[in-house]
């Protein structure tokens, strides 16, 4: 039976209860005048260690096995996911952040491209900030297969030993980055919203939301390399490409494992809107009352060059497909403008749209939580406001 890593010195504990209020997980209780840790609840966030005025609490981080020679790992890598030779935007966003990290650390920034006929992307990746681009251009990598991609990236990591590896938190990036991290026996932090690097130690400070965005956590991988992180699309801003930047392309010929599954059919659903990449979203919630009324918002979205989003209530009511759902169980969005009608703002919904640049909310209930995240909040009836807005926009055309 393992001990709790949090240790409370009974001779120093004065029973002030500061640790109890500091604990975000409710993992401490008072036994008489002594604070005690509940090992099953404790997540070793060390909040109690810092809160204790008497230095009675200490954290003994257990030594992790397999500590490699950390100094052998150098450079920041960005996995440049591509489809049909075109690199996804999230890779450019990561290169922008990767450039900053590499400059802070004083190291190189490299992009890694896996695929077939992908050499056209090299110039774009260099313009976006890469010093080097590792290109594995071979038929086995033409389509994503988890095992083959894992094999490819792991081979390159073993060969070049990067200190940091970043990937987009896309359907592909999430899955295979997790496999790579397990194969390398290293840490992977999902959905980071902020990244910073320590110039001296090279430690990557990875910040991400936890518990549905109710708290933020900063996470590190102190003793394993590479330090791996995924970032959702649109969380970081892309920088302006510099076509004059100099960089180097390195072709890699890999001997890869056979794929364990194969894609027999691939379809792009034309009607599937990708709300995650929309610049403008007009969203409706329970207040829209019935499916037909969504047409009102669809028209408004059309006028603003945006797409229609909805809260979970509309999907559960069967008014629209889940592809339009914003929120924790739907999509996370970060448009320039989020215009919401009749959405009260459950925590899961707010979590999915709080990264929006500007939020305008219309709701009849003055106490709706959506107003707390709105830059402009209108207390009013959407069936009055929306038609007037459509009329005003149409008259301008």
């Amino acid at each position: 039976m393992a001990e709790t890593p949090i240790h409370i010195d009974p001779s120093k504990c004065k029973g002030c209860k500061k640790c109890i209020t500091a604990c975000p997980f409710d993992a401490l209780y008072m036994d008489g005048k002594l604070a005690v840790v509940k090992p099953d609840e404790c997540r070793v966030c060390n909040a109690c260690v810092k809160a204790c005025p008497f230095k009675a609490i200490s954290s003994r981080p257990a030594e992790s096995a397999g500590t490699a020679d950390l100094s052998a790992f150098k450079g920041v890598w960005v996995f440049a996911e591509q489809h049909g030779g075109k690199v996804r935007e999230v890779a450019y966003e990561l290169l922008s952040t990767g450039r900053r990290l590499a400059d802070d650390r004083g190291c190189e920034l490299a992009a890694v491209v896996l695929g077939q006929c992908v050499s056209d992307s090299v110039a774009h990746l260099i313009a976006a900030g890469a010093d080097k681009v590792y290109v594995a251009d071979q038929p086995e990598l033409a389509e994503y297969e988890a095992n083959v991609y894992t094999d490819a990236l792991s081979q390159l990591i073993a060969k070049y030993k990067p200190e940091v590896v970043l990937a987009g938190a896309t359907a592909i990036g999430r899955a295979f980055a997790a496999k790579v991290a397990v194969r390398e026996r290293t840490g992977l932090t999902a959905d980071c919203t902020a990244l910073a690097i320590d110039r001296q130690t090279g430690l990557l400070h990875q910040t991400r939301p936890a518990f549905g965005g109710n708290i933020m956590a900063t996470i590190m991988t102190p003793k394993h390399r590479p330090q791996m992180a995924t970032v959702r699309p649109k969380v970081f801003k892309m920088s302006t490409p510099d076509p004059k930047r100099k960089g180097m392309a390195l072709a890699e010929a890999l001997t890869l494992v056979a794929p364990s599954t194969r894609i027999v059919k691939s379809s792009r659903n034309a009607s599937t809107v990708n709300i995650a990449e929309a610049e403008v979203i007009v969203a409706g919630g329970r207040g829209i009352k019935k499916a037909e009324n969504l047409e009102l918002l669809r028209r408004l979205a059309e006028l603003l060059g945006g797409v229609l989003g909805v809260s979970r209530a509309c999907v559960d009511a069967g008014w629209i497909s889940p592809a339009h759902q914003v929120g924790q169980t739907g999509k996370t969005v970060c448009p320039k403008l989020y215009l919401s009608f009749g959405i009260s703002g459950a925590i899961q919904h707010l979590e999915g749209m709080r990264a929006s640049d500007t939020v305008i909310a219309v709701n009849t209930d003055p106490n709706a939580p959506i107003f707390d995240v709105a830059d402009l909040g209108i207390v009013g009836d959407l069936f009055e406001i929306a038609p007037l807005l459509i009329e005003a926009l149409e008259s301008r055309k």
Partner: protein, 277 residues
Amino acid sequence: MGDRPVTNDFTGRGMHIIVCVKQVPNTANVRINPETNTLMREGVESIMNPFDEYALEEALRLKDAHGARVTAVTMGPPQADAVLREAMARGADDGVLLTDRAFAGADTLATSYVLAQAIKKVNAKPDLVLFGKQAIDGDTAQVGPGVSEFLGFPLVTYVKSLRIEGDTFRVATQTDEGVNVIEGRMPAVMTVVKEASTPRFATLSGWIAAKRAPISRWGAADVGAAAESCGLGGSPTKVVKIFAPPVKTGGIRMDGRKEPSVAIHAILKVLHEKGVA
């Protein structure tokens, strides 16, 4: 540990499907105390991770169609057996609770390792290992892929529909752009999305049967997990700081009920500033 071994005498009942489920706090009700910056967890109930319900449903559908043994596996504190009982009330045959102080503080690597060790003990050659696409408390979506790596099984993520023929599968998966149809051979690890199916309810007779159904309780030693690879010590990632997210307090507020035209004007001004109208 009170060890009641899972028996492998289900031969002749077709496939063996293992579904990994997680007990999570219902995050809808978690709030932060603005004064102390701590989570207010009073009255927050524990539920089965909603995405895992879809994975379980896919397993039960295969059981209905082909005959299968369905084993639910969870890692957590002793009271996490509630999600196993729930899984069994819906139709799972047996359950494994992985509980040990040594597992506390596990990140996705250490969790994947312990789950993979347990799966090997339940059945070294299961046909399918199913996960929900992610858990609503951590939202990482990393454990399913991690387990596939430890087991050395093929991985298919975001499965919308699933068909089995002999020892091969054909699934439709959700991609960022549309849909892929993927074929492969079992065993395989899959993560299942919400579009897959509507989870069934537990029946009264299911609950009664679940009360008596076998649950194995295994610790690190039972699954042959190396102590240094479990829990906090086996986790490469460390949480170094926890804080409240920056709070948006809301911007301009106006009442559009009396004078809608003023509100419309304010909206148009913002639209113009953002360059969208």
